[in-house]
Symmetry: C2
Subunit: 227 residues, 2 copies
């Protein structure tokens, strides 16, 4: 379903060029629940951004559901992402002037969904992540972990076929982490939603069915577990 072919990413803007990704090949199949692990700076965010069409590789291609996303122009890319991908950013990237509720429903507005459908969906998601009482708060009125949970709810709002999540539990306590994992696993098992997430959190790694290890821009191991 996601075909990553010989992806390289080199940053040339610093004095010394940085080879963030040095030839990554991998296939993600529908319904996977896959963790990407690796040291700080090993290329996890870079890889997720490229798979999600948020960044362009220096060489190589990414084919998602049959579409070579490197061939899409800017507008087609935006449209493609809206229809197919839910993304949870490492720094959340919530819109500061919108409330939690508005941040979550934003993408549904762009997709032209009806008010009643949006209201029901937002309510359902904020309830699942335990933030119903915070729906009218703006990001500066939320704790770090609360902002992270809004970012997750937002990624799930449009019922994407796959979710890319960059360290989605970094700022969460055990209970919120366990809750989030349950939500993700339920969507994965009941609706076949594909999840690919980067993480440093052992509790999350333990529940992945496949673990890819990135080191210095290369995949050094790819293990299927029986989690």
């Amino acid at each position: 379903i996601i075909d990553v072919n010989n992806i390289e990413k080199t940053y040339t803007e610093t004095a010394v060029p940085v080879h963030a990704l040095r030839g990554v090949d991998l296939q993600i199949e529908a319904g996977e629940f896959t963790a990407i692990v690796g040291p700080s700076g090993s290329g996890k965010s870079t890889l997720l951004n490229i798979i999600g069409g948020l960044d362009v590789p220096s060489t190589g291609s990414v084919v998602v559901n049959g579409t070579d996303i490197s061939q899409l122009n800017a507008n087609q890319l935006i449209d493609f992402r809206q229809k197919n991908i839910g993304f949870v950013f490492q720094a959340y990237n919530l819109i500061p002037v919108l409330t939690a509720k508005e941040n979550v429903e934003f993408i549904m507005l762009l997709q032209g969904r009806s008010k009643s459908e949006r209201d029901a969906r937002v309510k359902e998601l904020l309830e699942e992540v335990g933030l119903m009482d915070k729906m009218d708060n703006r990001p500066t009125q939320l704790s770090g972990g609360q902002q992270q949970r809004v970012a997750v709810a937002r990624a799930l709002a449009s019922k994407p076929s796959f979710v890319l999540a960059d360290e989605p539990t970094a700022n969460l306590d055990s209970k919120s982490t366990a809750n989030l994992l349950d939500i993700m696993l339920k969507l994965n098992q009941e609706e076949g939603m594909t999840f690919v997430f980067s993480t440093h959190d052992q509790r999350v790694i333990d529940r992945a069915r496949r673990v890819l290890t990135l080191e210095d821009g290369k995949i050094v191991s790819d293990i299927k577990t029986k989690a």
Copy 2:
């Protein structure tokens, strides 16, 4: 050394007032290595911000090294923080237009330290957190965990008597986390630097000598361990 007296913090800007802290009393002694744990939204960041003079309590007082910081005016507070406190923010708050090196030396510039002293200190710190090769990168050219390590280096730069760190290892892998803990413990044991940090990370909690648990704005347990 830090005397927190009956601190309450209520936010009234939302429809329903939020009692983020509901009467917190605690004393931190010189040389402590203390973790504050608790669920997302329980008040950890709020408490750290108030202890560090970055936020004002609704009632109660904070006395640091004999100074009641609630009695200081804005300029005195800035000056006091510069001289006494190193702060690691949950969202890092690095200055986007400055490089890693410039972010770390910034406070030393404000303190009027000589160029040779600043250069030596920045080099020492960036080396300790493994970021010498990134010193000319700006925050957008750094990974999440790299930004977090710059934020820690910055807090240590001015050799403060105590460091308040808000989830300082959230985005770090095991190796970087272990390394950071070693640095903090070494400063704590060799130089008597006091550390108070909030964390969800069990590896960090395991190495604290005292664990304060916050729930719903109140301290519910205070345990000294033999870590």
